[in-house]
């Protein structure tokens, strides 16, 4: 069927990829069996494609589930939050379409033009999400004690925290470490 460069079109595309990969695996196993290979060896020889088919199956379900759940949830969200949720799910689906563009070319009728549009769509989505990036991670509401990170604390005092943590190193408890007297000094004086 003709490729639809929409979210629904991409979701259907991922199902076509998964179904196509599975069908190809079955065909390859059968071909290898016809050439005299026992089933277990035919399975093993096809296993790289089989893991890829499983991942495609999972990806199709992940995208579908996320899209459906977000449709439900965003219907209940405020007018300010709704577009942000939809931008995220669009970003996720378009990102994975670009990540799996080889498979889409192989199992669907997506064209070069469609792919160029997807790339532009993706970059526009990044720009749209940019103003809300910090708000989106603040919404995970993870306390500093749980983040436990010099880089991610709520107040953003990154450099002060990096220095505070560095000073906790036991090595900083004394200005001259004992190894200077035992090793370094004799070494520097050529006595080692």
């Amino acid at each position: 069927p003709p490729w639809e460069n929409t979210i629904e079109g991409i979701l259907t595309g991922f199902q076509r990829v998964a179904a196509g990969k599975i069908a190809l695996c079955v065909a390859n196993i059968e071909k290898r069996q016809k050439n005299g290979l026992p089933y277990e060896d035919a399975w093993n020889m096809t296993s790289v494609q089989l893991t890829s088919a499983s991942e495609a199956h999972c990806r199709a379900i992940l995208l579908q589930t996320y899209y459906k759940e977000t449709e439900k949830v965003s219907a209940r969200a405020s007018p300010a939050l709704r577009p942000v949720l939809l931008q995220l799910v669009d970003l996720y689906i378009v990102y994975w379409a670009l990540q799996r563009v080889g498979d889409l070319l192989r199992y669907t009728s997506i064209s070069e033009r469609d792919i160029e549009q997807l790339q532009t769509w993706y970059e526009d989505l990044l720009q749209k999400i940019r103003p809300n990036a910090v708000g989106l991670v603040d919404a995970f509401d993870i306390r500093d004690e749980i983040l436990h990170s010099t880089l991610g604390a709520y107040d953003g005092r990154v450099y002060e925290r990096l220095m505070e943590e560095a000073l906790k190193s036991p090595l900083n408890a004394e200005p001259v470490n004992q190894s200077f007297h035992q090793h370094l000094k004799p070494f520097m004086q050529g006595k080692l």
Binding site: Q15, R16, A19, I22, C25, V26, S47, L50, T51, A53, S54, H57, C58, I61, L62, L63, T65, Y66, E69, T70, V73, A77, S78, L81, V84, L85, L88, V89, L91, Y92, L125, Q127, P131, N132, A133, V134, G135, L136, V137, D138, A139, F140, D141, I142, E145, I146, L147, H148, S149, T150, L151, G152, D155, G156, R157, V158, R161, L162, E165, P170
Partner: protein, 472 residues
């Protein structure tokens, strides 16, 4: 607050609290979570005189045990005060709150995440009456020993044996080879005094496959290993060095017949074996753990992308436009490309974990009614979702770490440690490649069913639709 970060918050176009409530599942759940965090963190268990990065391997374990005991003591007190069950504290025990307190793994996690759920899923009512109470009050500490030095995800290959002796009505446990030693279980090395052990059951000279047994490993008073039990620590790892992973070997260790967990299969006093309705029933615990795992991956990704995004709002770098100040690195499209998919992935996996959990509950409800035909579909789904979510999470955390440049390499950023926790999940609870191949078995069967014109279960019905489309 850093001025750049404050400006980001001022320009946000939506109410972050509304999204928090949505993520938690409602305002009430948010309050519950915050209260739980408040209570647990106010205890100060997570505070360390010296950052644990600077401790030895042995000291890390000793600190982890100290913290874990304080944490469980607190949970027991809270349960009594609030009269709540365990689920309220799963977050604290194994989830991201727990990993904040025991940031390099806990030697008691498996007691709650595997030992108790297995007793509830595989023990008879009488056996539960005897064991569950002592397990819940932590008067015994358990773990779950299935994986062996030479055998992992392919559990039918396990070598540990449990041979029934009808004269004494006991099972005799043995580790016939070095590769049959149990290897990896958390808490096994020096913490647990009991363990669920998965072994090949032999009775009347016949092997009946793998079954779960409860085995005492150490004396309850002295904590010394019992005769015939060889147990110890497996050594330092890439991460989770507080988890006390151990090895376990048996030499003619005898346990009473009643120590075989017999909810599904049984061995009668004379040694007669009574089969279980479906071998898939033993997957119950494993599927529960996988659904929990997908949720944990969400939490770890949320932590990593929070750290990297806030840092990217603070960090300024280079001068693309002359006479203008260095821009925030969050303004570079390449930085947005690294991070924003991580934010979206958290929401995507959370949706899928919720959906899988609902499906798990529906299928297990059918299970109890004897309906088994959707079990293979659920099993296949839990396999591939666990594999894809852990692989994506490991990639996401590593991408966040790299997005922070050199400072992402500092342990004090908490990104390396988070990576250690997440990448471990790619191999435990089923190694990812093996799991994807297990899903593939189900998909190949589904394809053949579709080719034969049979109807398919909901999550694979697209195979028939696409197949029909291709034929037309």
């Amino acid at each position: 607050v850093n001025a750049d970060l404050q400006r980001e918050r001022d320009q946000c176009t939506f109410n972050t609290q509304e999204l928090t409530h949505l993520i938690d599942g409602g305002e009430e759940k948010t309050q519950e979570r915050k209260k739980r965090e408040e209570v647990v963190l106010n205890e100060g268990i997570h505070l360390e005189e010296v950052p644990s990065e600077y401790l030895s391997h042995k000291e890390k374990y000793e600190l982890a045990v100290k913290k874990a005991c304080k944490l469980f003591k607190l949970i027991r007190r809270l349960q009594e005060e609030e009269n709540t069950g365990m689920e309220n504290y799963r977050e604290v025990l194994g989830g991201y709150l727990g990993s904040a307190i025991l940031n390099d793994g806990s030697p008691l996690t498996l007691h709650y995440v595997m030992f108790i759920p297995t007793l509830m899923g595989q023990a008879t009512v009488e056996q539960q009456a005897y064991w569950i109470g002592r397990a819940f009050t932590c008067s015994i500490i358990g773990t779950y020993a299935q994986t062996e030095l030479g055998h992992g995800t392919f559990i039918r290959g396990l070598e540990t044996t449990a041979t029934y002796d009808p004269n004494t009505k006991e099972f005799v446990l043995n580790s016939p080879t070095l590769t049959s030693y149990k290897w990896w279980p958390g808490g096994l090395a020096h913490t647990a005094n009991y363990s669920v052990v998965v072994a090949q059951l032999y009775t009347k000279g016949k092997c009946h496959g793998i079954h779960p047994f409860i085995v005492q490993l150490r004396d309850e008073e002295t904590h010394m290993p019992l005769p015939g039990v060889k147990v110890g620590e497996i050594g330092a790892k890439l991460g989770m060095n507080g988890t006390n992973n151990g090895f376990l070997g048996f030499e003619n260790v005898r346990i009473p017949r009643e120590h075989m967990l017999m909810k599904n299969s049984k061995v009668l006093e004379d040694g007669t074996y009574v089969n279980s309705p479906s071998s898939k029933l033993t997957y119950g615990t494993m599927m529960f753990v996988r659904v929990v795992l997908v949720n944990d991956m969400c939490n770890y990704m949320a932590k990593a992308v929070t750290i990297a995004t806030r840092y990217s709002a603070v960090r300024r770098q280079s001068q693309p436009k002359p006479n203008e100040p260095e821009p925030q690195i969050l303004d570079y499209l390449t930085q947005q490309h690294k991070l924003f998919i991580g934010i979206a992935s958290v929401h995507a996996f959370r949706s899928s974990a919720t959906w899988l959990w609902e499906m798990y509950n529906n299928v297990t409800a059918e299970l109890d009614a004897g309906e088994l035909d959707r079990l293979p579909e659920l099993h296949a789904l839990s396999c591939c979702l666990k594999a894809v979510s852990t692989a994506d999470a490991a990639e996401c955390v590593e991408r966040c770490r790299l997005a922070c440049g050199g400072h992402g390499y500092m342990l004090s950023s908490n990104l390396p440690l988070t990576y250690g926790l997440v990448t471990a999940a790619c191999t435990y609870e089923g190694e990812n490649t093996v799991l994807l191949l297990q899903t593939a078995r189900f998909l190949v069967k589904a394809h053949q069913q579709a080719a034969g014109g049979h109807s398919l279960t909901p999550t694979v019905s697209y195979i028939a639709a696409v197949g029909a489309g291709r034929r037309s």
